[in-house]
Symmetry: C2
Subunit: 233 residues, 2 copies
Amino acid sequence: MRVEFSPDEFKVALATSVVVFGFDGENLKTLVAQKKGQPYEGAWIIPSCVVKADENPEHVAKELLVRATGQTDWLLEKLNVFADPYRNPVGRVVNIAYYCTVRLDDTLANNLQREGYSWVPASDVPILAYDHNEIMEYARERLKRRVKRRPIGFSLLPAEFTLNNIQRLYECALGKRFDKRNFRRKLLKSQLLIETDHFIRSSERAKRPSRLYKFNEKKYRTLSLRGYDFVYQ
Amino acid sequence: MRVEFSPDEFKVALATSVVVFGFDGENLKTLVAQKKGQPYEGAWIIPSCVVKADENPEHVAKELLVRATGQTDWLLEKLNVFADPYRNPVGRVVNIAYYCTVRLDDTLANNLQREGYSWVPASDVPILAYDHNEIMEYARERLKRRVKRRPIGFSLLPAEFTLNNIQRLYECALGKRFDKRNFRRKLLKSQLLIETDHFIRSSERAKRPSRLYKFNEKKYRTLSLRGYDFVYQ
DNA sequence: ACAAAAGTGTTACACTTACACCCATGT
DNA sequence: ACATGGGTGTAAGTGTAACACTTTTGT
């Protein structure tokens, strides 16, 4: 068991990647970028950044998102480290990956487009450079677990949403279908939703408008404190 | 988004730590070591090791365990990375942590003692150097989740064990008590146990011997393949 | 009027929980 | 005989899953 470091052991570089998930009302999306410069020029990658030896990877990841979107309130969660010796051809680079969820809206989409990012369906991610598909897969699993265990879904939805929206989101995130009646019953029983007086038409073809709900944050905080878990599986 | 590395960004060192859990039939234990040399001489730490820039951290972690115990079949699971910039006073050291479970027996205990390791109760870990208490806490949570979700408990038990053993193990790992009748019913229904014809007396004071069971690995493999989750919470 | 999606209840079954006594054995 | 932990069953309640029709609205 050797835990002393000699100077020539400080030879590793750090990178950070952030998997961002968004939901457009229909499908779950994730953010990718196109790599400039060698190696892998033009290849798709997860938004990523070099971390210098004196930097905090989470800060660097946050700054990356702030620059890309102009938006400042990012709640990142550490995913894991990806550290295969030969994952990067230029040398030993250890990647510390994060993930987060975001409310997709037009301003955000436009800012990102200007910066060269694209949203792709989370269920159909292209081949990515390095080991980024592995990181993406890991993030996907984490999202599944989070969605099952707490009402994280709300961070992907607009402030007001329909029960159909949230059911669709859960179906995308977990990759299965739910019975409408059972889903609603369970969700409403949790008291995490507040019924509003607003209605919206889900599409051109839909005639009858559907009711909008909002997230009961106060209730959620109370439930969390008591160790409540949402659990939908 | 900068993903090009300049040579002077390869300045970070890697370490790996392995949290090892064992169960002695009564209590859940974890392995600690005493640090030699500065800094933190004599402090308790999680078994840890330097990872050179061309090494695979999981291999290094495995070798550490092989050296310490003489035992070679280690199934490590990556926990996470611990990468605060100032977690190590000698420079930027990024720690990639693993955990594993082991059947505690006398040979193992003796080998470890010779190497300067000690088992401490998992519920009462001393203050550790660096951010090792944080790593330990993280491992503890992971163990909880694993125990809930799959019959990982068996990897902590001897080949044959009593229902009281396994209940005690679950109670230690999850930090709560279970009703004996309900616990047994649930466990036996899962068909993951095979009843043997062997009996053992749990202690000097116990008069009636209790029946030994063994793990039904075949059944488990079938169930796993079908996406079965053990789930005890 | 019709097309489209919104919304709504009931029943059977499985699982969970709470609970207390007799049994087998060694001393 | 008694002390010790080993072992067992039942009933009430809760949650889950399967199932199809009516309502509202825009065109």
